[in-house]
């Protein structure tokens, strides 16, 4: 049986995790994007579905909330195609199979991706009361998640599906201990296997942080619909600004990167640059050499990787 994450990785995880916004400050970009299912994939969302996993540490027993920022479709932030006519469904799962089911860890919404016990679901259309505001899901009980001893806590899954329409819903999350404000939960984290995101358009850089497990000899980095409007670089403890392929409009690009022992049990920093002033939605994911999806964490496990320079010292007499 595969162990998704090594013990070392989990130790590092527990030392570094503080739940915060998702996407996090470390990730740099602001919004996920999910289009309605009548949209064109060429707008940047390949499957009109997003899955995010949350981990609640086992020693946290109080209620928690998932605050969704701007969940509705319309008004500010969202991407309009014609008139706003889109509905997006946010569904929370817990219980057995929420993460352990293989389909849940797929990069696409294949049958079984909605495994687990459905705890809560809410569909948003154009509700102005949630435009540029938080909607609060919860309170939820930690024990309703799927307990994973390796993860040291309870896993919950949120799927975001565009059920109707063709507009793009831009939103983000905060995993909070309070309903009316964003208060982090110590030891909590979030991860996923694929992102559909809106790249920063101010010249800044967006990041994703796949965790490089001990068993990985190589990873393949995929991106979709980048429109050739920027660059992608890879940083690890051993790689310093390795170039990765950038896709064109409505197509995928991929690039393999070999992983060394030094990079095992560390995070990889995939930096996504976008042309300034351009609104660009892209989809990214990472596969390992077994073609299994590699999870990337909102808070990078072990911290943001820093390239370790090799310094040669010559001693002269």
């Amino acid at each position: 049986m595969k162990i998704y994450f090594t013990v070392i990785g989990l130790v590092l995880f527990s030392l570094t995790s503080v739940a915060q916004a998702i996407p996090s400050k470390a990730e740099g970009f602001e919004y996920f994007v999910t289009f309605g299912k009548q949209a064109e994939a060429s707008w940047g969302d390949d499957d009109f579905s997003q899955t995010i996993f949350f981990i609640i540490p086992k020693n946290y027993t109080k209620p928690f909330y998932i605050r969704i920022f701007d969940p509705e479709v319309g008004g500010m932030h969202d991407e309009k195609k014609g008139d706003f006519n889109t509905y997006t469904r946010f569904t929370l799962y817990g219980g057995k199979g929420a993460h352990s089911n293989k389909a849940a860890r797929s990069i696409d919404p294949i049958p079984g991706y909605n495994s687990g016990v459905r705890i809560y679901s809410k569909t948003f259309g154009g509700q102005p009361q949630y435009d540029n505001k938080f909607y609060v899901m919860g309170p939820f009980k930690p024990i309703d998640g799927e307990y994973d001893a390796n993860m040291g806590g309870y896993i919950f899954k949120i799927t975001v599906d565009g059920v109707k329409g063709d507009d793009g819903n831009l939103y983000n999350f905060f995993l909070s201990s309070q309903s009316n404000s964003n208060v982090s939960i110590d030891g909590a984290n979030a991860f996923t296997y694929e992102y559909a995101l809106r790249l920063k358009s101010d010249g800044g850089v967006s990041h994703i942080y796949p965790f490089i497990d001990a068993g990985l000899s190589s990873v393949i980095l995929y991106n979709f619909d980048y429109d050739k409007d920027g660059e992608v670089y890879v940083y690890t403890v051993s790689k310093n600004r390795h170039v990765s392929a950038v896709s064109a409009d409505n197509v995928w690009a991929k690039q393999a990167h070999k992983m060394t022992k030094a990079e095992h049990n560390t995070s990889m920093d995939v930096q996504l640059f976008n042309k300034k002033g351009v609104n660009n939605n892209v989809t990214v994911y990472v596969l390992n050499q077994y073609e299994d999806a590699v999870g990337f964490f909102s808070v990078p496990i072990g911290g943001v990787p820093k390239y370790r320079y090799k310094v040669k010292v010559n001693i002269t007499q």
């Binding site: 109080k62 209620p63 509905y87 469904r89 016990v117 459905r118 809560y120 679901s121 809410k122 569909t123 948003f124 259309g125 509700q127 009361q129 609060v136 309170p139 009980k141 024990i143 309703d144 309903s179 009316n180």
Partner: protein, 853 residues
């Protein structure tokens, strides 16, 4: 001279408006969480059963609350992962419990049965509802119900297309199943005993709306609570065609968690983040009107709330996610007093307009405005009324009150003017205590210490009522006009006096068996009951020709009655100096409220009270007003069933603990004669006020003292018939109409049965006969031994038989036991001698006969 003023707004006067906002003391709350014994912090459901237990299902426990403790119940589950998600009372002694696994269990006093197991797709049972039959729905949209034989089966919900939504709640109205989901409202046609329900419609107004609560108002009308879309009223007509639904929306921004109908007009709504709203509904109009009565903010209750449950005593239980639950009790009393305003002693209070009262005080005439929406009251001096001591008020009609000052000035006050009425009488040195107006418009004035006077509508003195005119006393306290044109005078010392329509006076005195001589107040209640309140003897009711009364021994708060009033529900209230009593005249049950219920510790002034248009009672005090809430009628006659929680014989639970009639005793063997009885009457509102008196008939025991002890033990009961009886007392009043009773019989052991006694006698008789027979035949040493043994056995048996009776007289002193044995021996000794002599003689005779032969 009439003083006419036009008022634009009563309250636009120079004096500051003093609003006394409702404080948190009008509600009392108690939090129940881990510290109070509730396991778990998320209440999934709460239901009160017929015995009064509050069943609570949390994410980790199922328990019953008896007002004191949470009694945890096991959930019969081998996995250990199940928890209760839904509860439904199925009648006496039955509770249906839905689990997160889709199972439904039935809990009764003796057992837990699995009623429904669902299938592989079953999941969290969201709700169980009882509508002559039981129904349930789980999170996977599996719907099930009981058939006529009481077994559960799945009812397939036909769908026009796949439903992704999660059901949150459902209601059944006539033949319609209405399901509220997180993505809208669905309706099916549901016919009794069918296993399939046909899809009717998806209500378009609720597309993608999270329906969080449904409540049936009547057969076709429902209230719909939504998460972020307010609450609605919909009408589901009973037709097979779809889309016959009218919706009306209100409170659009409300984020509803649950809805609970308190009575036919009032609604409590719990919200996700905004606490609780209390709404009044008016269904009489074509379009239902609603008005906000009250919002319970964070000063009263945590603002994150979910489940609501109303218990039988009017308490509201509110789930607070992550913390447990809160019991909310509406305090009956709210006291208004403004130290700054300081209007002094309140002499009288009366209703004035729909939302205003007039208060007669020592410092002047005050108008009080009721702000029903804010649950508060503001006070102002009545402009242009003199700043004199106002002693009395009389309500003529809406917007018209006659007010009198102590020095004899009388005014007619309306919303637009204040008009002086001249009474042709010299009030110099005389205090005007009270003013009344009869149906003919005559003024009736009580003069302090000088009897009463009657004036014509234009102020002419018509008649005096005092000692000089036939009264026994000049101390008249109250004048009352009944429906038959009789006029009653309540006096001190002189008792009750009646003036008939012919003008003749009749004095109802002690000789006429009327017990009161000091009367404070007289009132006409329903059914022509005349209710008379006294100072020191309670109150008496004259109904037709019968006379009966209530005093402190019957549970009345006090024997000093300062007022009598009826509320909007026709309940009779007696008002006392420091408390109030509600009297159910038909059942003779009284509930009293005093300081510990929030009644203020300031004396109430005699006859200083009124009922407003909203049905609330207002009571005047030394320097303030008490408002007795009526909108939420938490004084409905509460019922606390008394029942046995455990009956044990020799520490083993008795199987059938139902109360029995005298003809249905249970039988126990003689050695199962140690009994214990546990009993209780549950009150969630007044858990400490229940007291019990018990007695075991058949044991010659006295009734116990009335105390809170709810357990009795009896050991070594003798064989016989017994009946254990318990009465419950609440607030000092016997609450059980008939005591609960458990009858049983302890069988005698076989050796106490008649047949055994007869057998014993038979054996001894045969032994004696055999001894005599043998002794006659041959008198040998063996015969002598046999004789001694027989006599010894007889002696011992008789001694054992009579000893308990002897001991009852002489006690256990050894000297008496020895004496008794000696007496018996002395009694038997001559018998022995005689028998020996007889045997010897017979043997000698036989020997002679044989020799002769």
């Amino acid at each position: 001279m009439a003083i006419k003023r036009i008022f634009n707004l009563i309250f636009s006067c120079a004096l500051a408006i003093l609003s006394l906002g409702a404080n948190a003391q009008d509600f009392s709350t108690t939090m129940f969480g881990e510290e109070e014994g509730l396991e778990g912090s998320f209440v999934n459901d709460a239901v009160q059963d017929e015995f009064g237990y509050l069943w609570v299902a949390t994410e980790v426990s199922l328990s019953k609350y008896n007002g004191v403790d949470f009694l945890k119940l096991d959930i019969a589950d081998t996995t250990g992962l199940s928890y209760a998600t839904s509860l439904c009372s199925g009648g006496l002694d039955q509770m249906l419990v839905g689990l997160n696994t889709g199972f439904v269990l039935m809990y009764s006093a003796s057992d837990v049965d699995t009623m429904f197991t669902g299938d592989s797709s079953s999941s969290i049972v969201q709700m169980l509802e009882y509508d002559n039959l039981f129904y349930g729905i789980d999170a996977s949209f599996n719907f099930f119900g009981t058939n006529d034989s009481g077994t559960f089966s799945t009812i397939r919900l036909n769908q026009s297309e796949e439903i992704f939504a999660n059901p949150n709640s459902f209601q059944i109205t006539e033949n319609k199943l209405v399901v509220g989901t997180n993505e809208g409202l669905y309706i099916w046609q549901l016919n009794h005993s069918d296993t399939v329900a046909e899809f009717v419609s998806y209500v378009p107004e609720f597309e993608f709306v999270n329906i969080t609560a449904l409540r049936t108002i009547d057969k076709n009308k429902l209230l719909v609570g939504t998460e972020d879309n307010g609450f609605w009223e919909i009408n589901v007509e009973n037709e097979t065609e779809s889309k016959h639904i009218n919706v009306q929306r209100s409170m659009a921004s409300l984020n509803v968690s649950d809805i609970q109908l308190i009575d036919e007009k009032h609604l409590w709504i719990s919200t996700k983040f905004e606490g609780i709203y209390i709404i009044e509904l008016n269904f009489e109009k074509e379009v239902t009107a609603q008005s906000l009565i009250r919002h319970l903010g964070s000063d009263i209750i945590p603002q994150e709330t979910n489940k609501l449950m109303l218990d039988k005593e009017g308490g509201i239980w509110v789930g607070v996610p992550g913390a447990g639950m809160v019991q909310v009790l509406v305090n009956p009393f709210e006291y208004f007093e403004d130290a700054e305003f300081n209007f002094g002693k309140v002499n009288d209070v009366t209703s004035f307009t729909h939302d205003q009262l007039l208060i007669a005080t020592d410092s002047g005439l005050i108008i009080a405005r009721i702000h029903a929406d804010k649950d508060s009251c503001s006070f102002n001096y009545f402009e242009n009324a003199p700043r004199q001591t106002f002693s009395s008020l009389f309500f003529e009609k809406q917007n018209s009150v006659v007010a009198a000052t102590v020095n004899g000035n009388v005014f007619r006050i309306t919303t637009s003017l204040i008009e002086k009425i001249e009474l042709k009488f010299d009030f110099t040195g005389i205090d005007l205590k009270s003013i009344r107006i009869d149906n003919q418009g005559n003024f009736w004035i009580i003069l302090d210490g000088l009897g009463a006077a009657k004036f014509s509508p234009n102020g002419e003195l018509l008649k005096r009522y005092d000692i000089a005119n036939g009264f026994l006393t000049n101390d008249i306290r109250y004048i009352f006009f009944d429906l038959f044109d009789n006029i009653f005078f309540g006096t001190y010392v002189g008792g009750l006096v009646r003036e008939g329509s012919d003008g003749d006076l009749s004095f109802v005195s002690k000789e006429d068996k009327f017990p009161f001589v000091d009367i404070n107040t007289i009132y006409q209640h329903t059914n022509n009951r005349l209710v008379i309140g006294s100072s020191g003897s309670g109150l008496i009711i004259i109904e037709n020709d019968s006379l009966y009364g209530f005093d402190k021994k019957d549970g009345l708060f006090d024997n000093y009655v300062v007022g009598i009033q009826t509320d909007e529900n026709n309940n009779l209230w007696s008002i006392h100096r420091n408390g109030i009593s509600r009297i159910d005249v038909d059942s003779r049950k009284i509930i009293s409220f005093g300081k510990r219920d929030g009644f203020p510790e300031v004396p109430t002034m005699t006859n200083s009270f009124t009922a407003d248009d909203f049905g609330n009672l207002w009571i005047g005090h030394h320097k303030g007003l008490t408002w007795l809430h009526s909108p939420v009628d938490n004084y409905s006659r509460t019922y606390f069933p008394t029942f046995f929680t455990a009956i044990k014989s020799n520490k083993n639970q008795v199987e059938n603990q139902k109360q029995t009639s005298n003809n249905e005793s249970q039988f126990f063997e003689h050695d199962k004669n140690n009994f214990s009885f546990e009993f209780v009457a549950i009150s969630l509102r007044y858990p400490g006020r229940m007291k019990y008196e018990y007695k075991l008939e058949g044991a010659n025991g006295e009734a116990s003292d009335i105390s809170s002890l709810n357990r009795a033990v009896y050991n070594n009961l003798s064989p016989g018939e017994y009946s254990f009886k318990v009465n419950t007392f609440f607030n000092g009043i016997k609450w059980t109409e008939q005591p609960i009773e458990y009858s049983f019989e302890i069988k005698k052991p076989f050796w106490q049965e008649l047949w055994f006694y007869l057998l014993q006698f038979g054996v001894f008789f045969l032994l004696v006969l055999a001894t005599i027979f043998i002794g006659i035949r041959q008198y040998t040493i063996y015969t002598k031994i046999m004789l001694y043994i027989t006599l010894f056995l007889v002696f011992d048996y008789v001694e054992i038989l009579v000893e308990p009776y002897f001991r009852g007289v002489t006690g256990s002193a050894p000297v008496f036991q020895v004496l008794s044995r000696l007496l018996l021996a002395l009694f038997l000794f001559p018998i022995e001698g005689y028998l020996k002599g007889y045997f010897r003689k017979r043997n000698e005779e036989r020997a002679v006969t044989t020799k002769t032969d």
